[in-house]
Amino acid sequence: MSPVFAIARHEARRIFVSPLAWTVLAVLQFILGMVFFLTLAQLAAEPGMLNEQAGVADYIGGSLYGFSSILLLLIIPLLTMRLFAEDRKSGSLTLLTSAPATLTEIVLGKYLGLCVFFLAVLVLMAAMPLSLLAGTNLDLGRIAAGLLGVFLLMLAFGAAGLFMSTLTREPVIAAVGGFGLLLVVWLLEAMAYGGGMFSELFRQLSLIGHFEKLRRGVFDTADLAYYTLFIVLFLWLSVQRLDLERN
């Protein structure tokens, strides 16, 4: 077995034996469940909101996934902070760096392990709207686009958080740094409103703009390319940073 999968399996196991992961999942589910329920209640009170253009999936999926993006921004740095910072602090990073695995394999392995956790989050988020299938017709394509958006957003947050974790040996600093970094990239959208020659550039660089389209059910390869580049960039930076540490 390639070391990537060995590390990924190990990392996923470590995430799921820690109380942090379960707390995060519980809090996330509680808040999103509340949002889901409130939207549903609102919809039941005013069924007139639904028309030919906007169905149940648009309302429920839209508000649920829109709200989850903010929650994920707050939560993911807490999960990524441990990846390298904690291991460095406890000295257990040496196990990986002296094993027959390249730095790229180590970074990819840790990242994939994190993705397993993201899949768990995704399952929770999919389950809520899909439970409505029992009583109504849903636009599944719409839900799928929203879920894809959430997943890509999580992957991007995860990559940025992982990079911040390679910079320090204090998990808390990694979390704060990751949160700050994500918020800045997020808020680039706000700078785009100011107009000026760079406004289009800022709009393209912002994390939220690309998510918005998917949330509304528009699948554009440009958005996919944006997230892919974002992820590759931060994973590459992480490898560079770890290599620097050896020198």
């Binding site: 190990h10 470590r14 000295g91 990986l96 027959p100 695995a101 390249t102 050896r246 020198n247």
Partner: protein, 313 residues
């Protein structure tokens, strides 16, 4: 590929900015050998080991492990290594089994061989009874053993141990020491320590490092052979002078005590006892002393005498 030289480091140098931590260290480890790396704190032992295990890139020099260059084929070279850093790299939230299973997978032990590899490593390190316990709940000594098990689970030809007995109680130290001696049956070991008896007890060759340089390098056998024996005697009614055949020098230490040095082929003890009885000197102490590793260590690593001694050596 059978190769008799397992580690060959040439001109290993490491600088941190203007500070030189390790300067031009040459090191060779042969099959079946235990090499002791000895030096005061901050001498560059850990830095050297980090460079040997690929955790730190050397500023100069090369490392070859089992004939594979560490710089150009790190992955291939590291396959032949087991490393226990100063702080055991364990994950406290996992059980011993989970952790060792990962260590085995990471080092490329095939899935079907993993259970047997785990069993063997646990047996060697005395961990069989704690297999299912969380590493975080184990004592420091057991955590150290888990770290050691991690280093040997894939049966590497070379094991590098950085101060493996730090923080252990005397019984644990003795256990780890006998474990290392047992490991040397099948593996070659590099062991660092600043505890002299430890090196003396297990190593077949010793390298003393001070301020980033090698100041002493000899096998224990050579060390024993080269040692000039001296004898310490004490009499109740000491004679004014002592003259014995084969003795090269006698120095009075006061209080009836003398240090006697003589040719290696000559043992003056019997003659001393006979004379003492014949002349009524009242012999109360007679002891042979060899120049111990400790004396060499202290003389080589303390103060300004280092440079002189290195020239002399």
């Amino acid at each position: 590929m059978e190769n008799d030289i397992l580690i060959e480091a040439r001109g290993l140098t490491r600088r941190y900015g203007p500070n030189v931590a390790v300067e031009h260290i040459d090191l060779t480890l042969r099959r079946g050998e235990i090499l002791g790396l000895l030096g005061p704190n901050g001498a560059g032992k850990s830095t050297t080991m980090k460079m040997l295990t690929g955790n730190l890139a050397p500023s100069g020099g090369t490392v070859k492990i089992n004939g594979i260059d560490l710089a150009s084929d790190a992955k291939g070279a590291k396959q032949h290594l087991g490393y226990l850093p100063e702080q055991p790299p364990v994950h406290p939230e996992l059980t011993v089994d989970e952790y060792l299973e990962f260590a085995a997978a990471l080092h490329g032990v095939a899935k079907k061989d993993r259970a047997a590899a785990l069993q063997r490593a646990k047996q060697s390190c005395g961990l069989t009874e704690v297999s299912r316990r969380l590493i975080g709940n184990l004592s420091k000594g057991y955590q150290q053993r888990v770290g050691l098990a991690q280093a040997i689970v894939h049966r590497p030809p070379v094991i590098i141990l950085d101060e493996p007995t730090v923080g252990l109680d005397p019984i644990q130290i003795r256990e780890i020491r006998s474990l290392i001696a047992a490991l040397a049956q099948e593996h070659s070991v590099i062991l660092s320590s600043h505890i002299l008896p430890e090196i003396q007890a297990v190593c077949s060759r010793v390298l003393i490092v001070n301020r980033g340089r090698v100041v002493f390098h000899q096998s224990m056998a050579e060390l024993a052979a080269a040692a000039v024996p001296s004898y310490l005697v004490q009499f109740r009614n000491a004679p004014a002078t002592l003259e014995l055949p084969g003795v090269t020098s006698v120095s009075a230490l006061g209080d009836g005590r003398f240090r006697i040095e003589c040719e290696t082929s000559h043992d003056p003890r019997e003659a001393l006892v006979e004379r003492s009885v014949a002349n009524g000197w009242g012999l109360i102490e007679l002891r042979a002393q060899t120049r111990s590793l400790e004396e060499i260590f202290v003389s080589l690593t303390s103060g300004d005498t280092t440079d002189e001694l290195r020239k002399a050596a």
